[in-house]
């Protein structure tokens, strides 16, 4: 099992290297979207600056819209596109409110480092 998993891990970059031969399909877009989502997720987990964590959240949201547009394109429907339109609008409102909250927090506590914001812990 472990040997098979490790061999497939070694095959993965090879598959990526061989991928340019294949025509770009829905799979590629969904895989790219998942990869971007994973990157944003790690940023949210590992970064300590509140602003950078928020940027990574935006990255995750953006990755999900890519999947929606790709599904919409390859199914020949309009709904995914309209949905992404609403997602972008809501994201803009969300960023405005979130950054206002972060600014208020900074004014109150004089820091943006997550590890120093432990008011709920004590």
């Amino acid at each position: 099992m472990i040997v098979r998993l490790s061999s497939s891990i070694f095959q993965f970059p090879l598959a990526l290297a061989a991928a340019p031969l294949a025509p770009v399909g829905l799979n590629h877009y969904v895989l790219l979207s998942a990869l971007l989502f994973a990157l944003g997720f790690f940023g949210v987990l590992l970064r300590r600056n509140t602003l950078v964590v928020y940027m990574c959240l935006e990255l995750m949201l953006n990755a999900s819209t890519l999947a929606a547009v790709a599904f919409s394109r390859f199914n020949g429907t309009m709904d995914g596109n309209v949905f992404v339109f609403f997602i972008i609008t809501v994201a803009a409102a969300e960023v405005a409110v979130g950054l206002a909250i972060i600014v208020a927090l900074f004014r109150l506590r004089r820091t943006v480092q997550l590890e120093e914001l432990t008011a709920l812990k004590h």
Binding site: S8, A15, P20, P23, V24, G25, H28, Y29, V30, L31, L32, A34, L36, L39, F41, F42, L45, L46, R47, R48, N49, L51, V52, Y54, M55, C56, E58, L59, N62, L66, V69, A70, S72, R73, F74, G76, T77, M78, G80, N81, V82, V84, F85, F86, I88, T89, V90, A91, A92, A93, V95, A96, V97, L99, A100, V103, R107, L108, V112, Q113
Partner: protein, 180 residues
Amino acid sequence: MAEFPFYLFAFLTVVAAAGVVVNRNAVNAAICLLVSFVGMAALFVLLEAYFLAVLQVLVYAGAVAVLFLFIIMLFDVKGGDPRKPYKKIAAGSGLVALALLTTGLLSLAKHGQLVSADPATVPAAGANLKTFGYQLFTTYLLPVEVTGFLLLIAMLGVVVLSKKHLEETEARSQHSGGKV
């Protein structure tokens, strides 16, 4: 559909996204975020969603990234992230998440072969701006209204969030004898 532009912009987007996660300096992270948004807009063009590509550049690259840069400038935090080791529980959860994500991506790459039709045979519904407007004003009329209301509420919320503190400082400065 063209292969080379897809790989070019996918590479650009992923590298810029990794730059957001890796960069210690918040300003560099914001610039990487901007590049990632532009790469995503190019991918939207490749998917023939031209309106969404324009919207992506206008709203995300134009407003969101600039807002981030503006707030970073407002904070004026020097030096970037401190180099401290992660707590054991954070590092452990990161490792578990990495393992789960690797497994997920591998299984998606290997077994999750989605049936995708040849894009030449499928009409690109998002390319037609007229259809877009028609849909927004017929099928999605209620969501449009609700979104407009949401934007209004968000604007009011931001005003309230920013204003409350001003009153507090005024009260505090009056309390301490008018000095700010």
